[in-house]
Subunit: 343 residues, 2 copies
């Protein structure tokens, strides 16, 4: 099943949008106010409502949904325009190792057993086509291509095996990051805050079964495709190098607290080492490239002594999407331009 | 104006409860579904709805509200049972200095200019009388008595002066902390996560004008009273030692992102140095005591070489409240027992 959220201009639903069911080919959609007004409502009563949503989905795919309309991706918000819990892991340890290597620091051995995860702000996500408003290019504006899952209610202290059953939907993320603010914030010891402004998500979220064989071991075994200003920048494989799978990440988030339905848990930046185990190569050098600028800059620093690729400038555009093995877009694309914020 | 949220058992409002207006003396209350079903709805349209809520409040105080009922504090949830944004500062630098001093580390000079703040999980707050469920006493279970504000929509990059106008409500917090998990999490560099399980808030939240002269310079100039197992444990003054005021904390949280209405921003553990500038003394030694166990343990370590006061055990109870200069409770009390969580 594929779901999405229409942006809405009526004051009643402006903050959460309107839930729609989307056809498998992303061409047609249907409003479902008689089932759930918002995606948040749907995940809060998922066991009861998802079979009814799925009936609509089947009818839509079979061309039997009378009220269906042609889907215009530009009308969509992130599937959850806001959430009560946004927790982002950093499960591709290749990314973490590169960060450390670039500053000559060892990665602690415990990182292989204990996931990195930060708590993000969930109150005002960007839509998948919304501009990324930034105050200054000096903040080191970067994208991070990731995958995330949406859960229903997760009890405290679940095992990863139990957590797996609470993963209801999957989507892509652009975890916008302000690299210039990270060192100062991490030095304070309280984690990211200003360095992680509003994230955005793919216009479509899908149930795990939509991924078929590509959803295995709690991971998405497909490449994540990233374009920067129209040039392919990366297509790293999201599966094999994800050291902690999504059930493990959800269990980590729930270790000492209950997670409320609609919790979003992210994978961290998708990242592959090179086939020889060294730093990944750019697309132009025959590698799989990257899903964030920080990584190519770290690789440049390791190889050449300095970073050459700049962070994003006002007017730069990033596009993040994922195709199935037949080349069909699964989630639609995140496609955003960076603009100067005028307060 | 004083507002609160009734716990609700109907499925429709179980997660957000029912907004009520509470009389100044906390004795009487009134449902207001014709104005706003939940506090979240009220803060999302505050300019429009707060005058109507205030009319109810005046009638209630004058004994003219026909549908009013006697308020039973035990029926209340935290004012916002969940929120899209929970950001907690650490504005009482005396607390931070003690933490550092106890481990022989200097506090960076920048801490006087740049607030410490962490992003918390807002999806499942505890009610003010709910048990604190914990997996293990070995986690170092602690309370933190704090003050917090609720904002309406705050635009990105507001100044502290502008942020002041977005502070709509004030309440108390118990920022439950698992001290045993903090060193490991901070060492990873991503901030608190498992070490900060669900927080709870005072049953009543109030508009700043309710504090009269005690609300000055964006601070609450009253002592915070904390009891541990029925013994007074602390009554530190919340005003003078709060190095960053609430407008500064809100502006810090909003520096690179918009804050959605209902954002909760906390002060951090209320903490006073001793009159001679040294570590604060316990109540039993004539001091103002503390609003968390970690602090008395740090003081003990500094003075005696080791910490003597234990963290909370299953069955221990903490009570956090604030009285006006006439001895009347402003926000009602947070009063919670620690119990073992059975998954």
């Amino acid at each position: 099943m594929k779901l999405a959220t229409l942006k809405s201009t009526t004051s009643k639903s402006a903050r959460d949008g309107e839930l729609i069911v989307v056809s498998r080919d992303l061409r047609r959609a249907l409003r479902v106010p008689h089932i759930a007004a918002t995606l948040q409502q749907a995940v809060e009563a998922w066991d009861e409502l998802s079979p009814r949503l799925n009936d609509v989905y089947q009818a839509l795919n079979e061309g039997k949904a009378d009220e269906a309309f042609d889907l215009d991706m530009q009308t969509l918000h992130s599937p959850l325009p806001r959430t009560y819990h946004w927790a982002d892991g950093s499960a591709y340890l290749n990314h973490v190792q590169l960060v450390r290597q670039a500053r000559n620091a060892e990665m602690p051995e415990t990182f292989w057993r204990d996931p990195l995860m930060y708590q993000g702000g969930g109150d005002s996500f960007l839509g998948p086509y919304d501009d990324i408003e930034a105050i200054s290019e000096d903040h080191g504006i970067d994208f991070e291509g990731e995958i995330a899952v949406i859960t229903d209610d997760v009890p405290m202290a679940v095992t990863p095996e139990q957590a797996a059953d609470h993963i209801k939907l999957i989507m892509l993320v652009n975890d916008v990051s302000l690299r210039g603010l990270i060192p100062g914030e991490l030095a304070k010891g309280f984690g990211f805050f200003q360095a992680k402004p509003a994230s955005s998500f793919s216009p479509i979220c899908v149930t795990p079964d939509e991924l078929g064989d590509a959803w295995q071991d709690g991971r998405v075994h497909l490449p994540l495709t990233v374009h920067l200003n129209g040039e392919k920048f990366g297509e790293p494989e999201a599966g094999p190098d994800m050291i902690f799978n999504f059930p493990q990440l959800v269990a980590h988030a729930a270790r000492t607290r209950h997670l409320g339905a609609g919790a979003v848990v992210g994978s961290g930046t998708v990242s592959n080492p090179d086939a020889n185990g060294g730093p990944g190569k750019p697309i132009t050098d025959g590698g799989v490239g990257y899903s964030c600028l920080a990584e190519v800059r770290m690789v440049e620093k390791i190889l050449h002594g300095d970073s050459r690729t700049p962070f994003m400038r006002f007017g730069d555009r990033v596009r993040i999407e994922m195709f199935d093995r037949d080349g069909t877009s699964i989630f639609g694309a995140i496609d955003q331009q960076v603009v100067k914020y005028n307060s």
